[in-house]
Amino acid sequence: MRVHSSGGRGRLLAVSVLAFMTGLTVAKAAEPALPDYIKSQGVLRVGVKCDYPPSGFLDAQGKFAGIEVEMAKRIAEIAFGSPDKADLQCVTSEARIPALNGKKVDVIIATLGIYPARQKVIDFTIPYAWGASGVVQLKGGKAKSLADFNGKTISVIKGASQAAWLEKNMPQVQTLRLNTVAEALQAVRQGRADGYTGDTSVLFSILSANDDLEILPEQEVFDVSYIGAGIRKNEPEWKAYLDAQITKLRDEKFYSKAVPEVVSDPMVRKEVIKFYETDPPKK
């Protein structure tokens, strides 16, 4: 159920699963050291999202908030002794990879799915979460399954994996590609689109805050993918260091503490923590 080359697909998934599992079990081996060039900067330069709650967003005071923001702060604390040493920068969906390869940031923790097309241009750490895609529609909407959207329009975020997935797997579905979730949902409310597809982690937050929407049943979830932090190619030391920290975060049940800081609805909390602390559903 992945996007691009089908040959490498199964293998990639297998490798990712393996990495994910080993991340769980193999814990404290020799701790990898922080690469010198990062250490000499004195800060951890991280690209995060600014408009994608609960993963990364800005609060009413304009301060960074979100689960991935907490991750960045925790890693900065481990590396430099203080969460304030995380130098956070906003990255948009399209600009995530250019920002990294332009050396404006050293790592992107910005809901970046691990896909072959991306692996051609950047490297990934081991996954820190998994994600799946779902569809929401207005309550009382006609669709019962994904297949009901054939010939209809679904709104989606530009550059998101769902757009490519739909194009490849359900070419009869029209996609309306917009910049933000608000715009995509607006399109649904205004009848410009029949549904909105996005990461289920966000969909749960959306559902809890928006009474007029409903999600398609669980078995209609598609495009299960792993989320990893993105780094530049050929920086093995840095990858080893981040892999170790991601493992550590999982071991110390970091997300069980961080998610409630960000998400207030208990149902949503439970669902969101799942993406970080359990394995994805077997197909």
């Binding site: 009413a60 920068q89 979730v181 608000a182 805050a209």
Partner: protein
């Protein structure tokens, strides 16, 4: 209105960023404009032709495409720019091209008799420019240049599309957070408020430009031929 009050801090930060962006763009554009105008007025075709081609290209490619191109392509040739820097570079190039045309027109508007008089007095070319030509050229230059500044303020909103946290982007972030976590709000109020803020800034600048034009041209004779030719098309900034 409530939504604006609650989010006043993030929105105010956005406004400050818009002003900072405008300030940097203005400096960049003025520097570029001066260099390009000098190039276009140069006696050497080696400088004049490239300057003209650059100005033409800068004015013909959509500004938004220029900014995106700088932001996305620069890293692949080893120049890393963050969204703020890329916006300043893109708007600076565009503003510079349009500014160069205003400056060149201003300098050419000074009658050739003045130049000849300077030569007769034995002034060096740069002395003539500094002491005689430029002071007179400021009169036709300043009002349209202030008009260009109005356009630059508006153009900074492009930064929102590549992630600069200026006014428009701040409003979008508020809308996004409210939609996902708080059950949404009417984008009508927020976008209307953003429009009003831009209007207040730009309208003040436009009034200043019109006033300056009136004051500066007080002593001028009404121009005899007011018929704009296509050549004047080159004087107008292009969005």
């Amino acid at each position: 209105m409530h939504v604006i009050f609650v989010n006043q801090e993030i929105l105010a930060q956005g406004l400050v960023m818009t002003l900072a962006l405008t300030f940097c763009v203005l400096i960049a554009a003025t520097a570029v404009a001066t260099i390009l105008a000098a190039g276009m007025l140069s006696r050497s075709a080696l400088l004049r032709v490239p300057a003209r081609i650059l100005v033409e290209i800068m004015r013909d490619i959509p500004l938004f495409v220029t900014v995106m191109m700088i932001y996305f392509v620069a890293p692949t040739i080893g120049i890393a720019l963050d969204p703020f820097e890329a916006t300043v570079a893109g708007l600076g190039a565009w503003g510079g091209a349009n500014g160069a045309i205003i400056i060149r027109a201003g300098i050419q508007a000074v009658s050739s008799g003045q130049r000849e008089a300077c030569a007769a007095l034995g002034l060096h070319r740069f002395q003539a420019l500094r002491l005689v030509i430029l002071p007179q050229a400021l009169r036709p230059i300043l009002p349209p240049y202030l008009g260009l500044v109005t356009q630059l303020v508006q153009a900074t909103s492009i930064g929102a599309l590549i992630g600069v946290r200026e006014l428009l982007r701040s409003a979008q972030i508020v809308i996004e957070r409210a939609t996902i976590m708080e059950g949404g709000l009417s984008p009508f109020t927020l976008y209307a408020a953003v429009l009003v803020v831009y209007f207040v800034i730009c309208f003040a600048l436009s009034l200043a430009s019109a006033r300056m034009e009136a004051v500066l041209s007080r002593h001028e004779q009404p121009s005899s031929s007011a018929k704009p030719r296509l050549s004047r098309l080159r004087l107008m900034p292009r969005g």
